[in-house]
């Protein structure tokens, strides 16, 4: 699997993401810089990592969403290339319009850093086929702005179309309908606040995140 990890100024989970991808796929991830106008050819997977791109100036992810590389990421996503955005990567995906909604300041106003239980809502996706629907998994969360907001009509549509991938199983940040991860209409773009790349090996305190990357690898091999 040819996977790329995009680094923006202020990304800080890009190395974790690259290490996770390599651990699961056996191939080193290609590192891409935010100023690159083009992505490497024949990519199978693009990851937007967590962090604080551009110092969270203006709004989290807003500057990164307008950086040169994102035009190429949007074009690739529209061609069907799987795109995973984690934490700040999720914020960048909503700011770029690839995913609906917005991520606002946590309802409790504090930065939340802990392992959170999540419910897998849809196990019929490229990213979640390694889980059972309704299963509770545990992934680390570490964010200040993860409070998912969309209008009621959008939320109804997301739920009706099976586009809520994960929900928080307890109160984390005040997200509408406890949404922790959402998919685009085509199902090839997933944004989520929890960090699967930080749960790859038992030494990380859990390996539920590994199954997300394994599922993508398997789905892509079968495609």
């Amino acid at each position: 699997m040819r996977a790329a990890v995009v680094t923006f100024p202020g990304s800080n989970c890009d190395r974790d993401m690259a290490v996770a991808l390599e651990a699961v796929t056996g191939q080193a991830a290609i590192r891409v810089w935010h100023g690159d106008a083009d992505l490497p050819e024949r990519l199978d997977f693009i990851a937007l990592p967590g962090g604080f791109s551009y110092g969270d100036y203006l709004r989290c992810g807003s500057m990164a969403a307008r950086s040169p590389v994102m035009r190429a990421v949007v074009a690739a996503a529209e061609r069907g290339v799987p795109v995973l955005g984690v934490c700040n990567g999720f914020q960048i995906l909503t700011e770029s319009g690839l995913l609906p909604g917005a991520l606002m300041r946590n309802a409790q106003l504090t930065f939340t850093c802990r392992t959170a239980p999540l419910t897998v809502e849809n196990s019929q996706t490229l990213f979640t086929s390694g889980y059972e629907a309704g299963e509770t998994i545990r992934l680390p969360v570490a964010h200040h702005d993860g409070n998912y907001f969309a209008d009621e009509a959008t939320l109804d549509r997301l739920e009706g179309e099976g586009r809520v991938a994960f929900r928080y199983a307890d109160a984390v940040n005040g997200s509408q309908r406890s949404i922790a991860g959402v998919l685009n209409e085509a199902g090839n773009v997933l944004g989520m606040m929890p960090h699967p790349e930080r749960a790859i090996e038992p030494a990380h305190g859990g390996s539920d995140g590994r199954r997300l990357f394994e599922a993508a690898l398997k789905e892509l091999a079968g495609a």
Binding site: P100, G101, M104, R105, L109, F149
Partner: protein, 79 residues
Amino acid sequence: MKVRIFVSLKPGVLDPQGRAVHHALEGLGFQGVEDVRVGRLIELEVADQTSDEALDEMCRKLLANMVIENYRIEKLETA
């Protein structure tokens, strides 16, 4: 020309920061504060011939997030 852009949360969007500021005002003993909402003021210095359409586009493409925010443009006379 100086332009001020006021970005505010849409009605109905919960504002955790506004709520915290509200609590703090009450904690300081100020009575009768009914609600607080926190927004953002952006000041631009632009060429005099900048069109209203261009200013609108700046707001919609970057300065405001139209999912959660509204904006208002105020043009000030050049000093």
